[in-house]
Subunit: 158 residues, 2 copies
DNA sequence: GTGAATGCAAAACCTTTGCAACTGG
DNA sequence: CCAGTTGCAAAGGTTTTGCATTCAC
């Protein structure tokens, strides 16, 4: 079964399979690449390379960590997956190709996607002193997620 | 000459010297800490730890890289300096304590501070699905800076 | 068949740590 | 004086690289 793309890298490929995207770049679809892609599309919890490695080993026990890094590079290069950097932590990988920010819970470590509110643009919030041409932006928040906030409120009551 | 604080960590300390801030935490002001702080306050070009190390060696030739990391930790812990993380690059250090975002030029590597426009809030741009309590946020843009845009425009004309 | 991709090991890189020697208040 | 800080060297964790082998097309 081919892997369908969720989200959109570009308007034209929203029904393209990952196989087609890879082939479109003159690259090959290997078991390892498919397995890495499936893991990231599966839990969608922003795993690190090592976490992807651990999960992928279930399906492809011979895969090496170097190959996982290779596959992640290829998939991000093709626009199938996005890299998420936060502080000095290891890189995480995200299958959500829509415009979004990330929330990092300082208590449980969970990473949550925050979609863009309609008609809002990050560029409007900041003052650009000159002719900057913006190609990317990355926005991250940290604090306490709803689950951990609720937990804290409960234990404070007692 | 004591180092005056620029920007504000908290409203109350805007005329406090770095010495006073350090002493206020029960810590000592050493030659190394002062030199590291002066380097960061000097060029304000968001140097990495290794760049700070190289510059500081001019004043304190015996300083070690581990001590530079130590000093940077202490200074950020005291709120005198902020850490700037971008992708998988080494951490950079910033003496601007005002609320701001960063622009990373993909052509020349320069890092520019982008101040907040008045009456705008980053939290308004994103949709938070639940009761998130935000303690920090970090916003970074990348693309081409004015200097490099101008250079590119000039060479395109010919 | 052939160039691309894998797997392994080793290296590179940034950062932290352990500990004896030193020093600021 | 003496806890806090330094300097050195060694280790830690993440990511990359080189190269022989394997595999997708």
């Amino acid at each position: 079964m081919p892997c369908l793309l969720h989200g959109m890298a570009t308007p034209s490929n929203h029904t393209q399979t990952a196989d087609e995207t890879i082939h479109g770049r003159g690259l090959r679809m290997t078991d390892q690449r498919r397995a890495v892609y499936d893991v990231i599309m599966g839990e969608r919890d922003h795993p690190t390379a090592v976490e992807v490695f651990t999960r992928v080993r279930g399906k492809v026990p011979t895969i090496s960590l170097a190959t996982v890094y290779n596959c992640l590079d290829t998939l991000t290069g093709c626009g199938l997956v996005k890299t998420v950097a936060h502080e000095r932590e290891p890189a995480r990988y995200c299958p959500n190709l829509e415009e979004h920010a990330h929330f990092f819970c300082e208590s449980c470590g969970a990473v949550t996607d925050l979609p863009l509110r309609s008609r809002k643009k990050p560029e409007d919030v900041w003052y650009f002193p000159g002719e900057f041409s913006v190609s990317h932006h990355e926005v991250s928040f940290s604090g306490t997620c709803p689950k951990c906030s609720a937990k804290a409120a409960k234990s404070n009551k007692r």
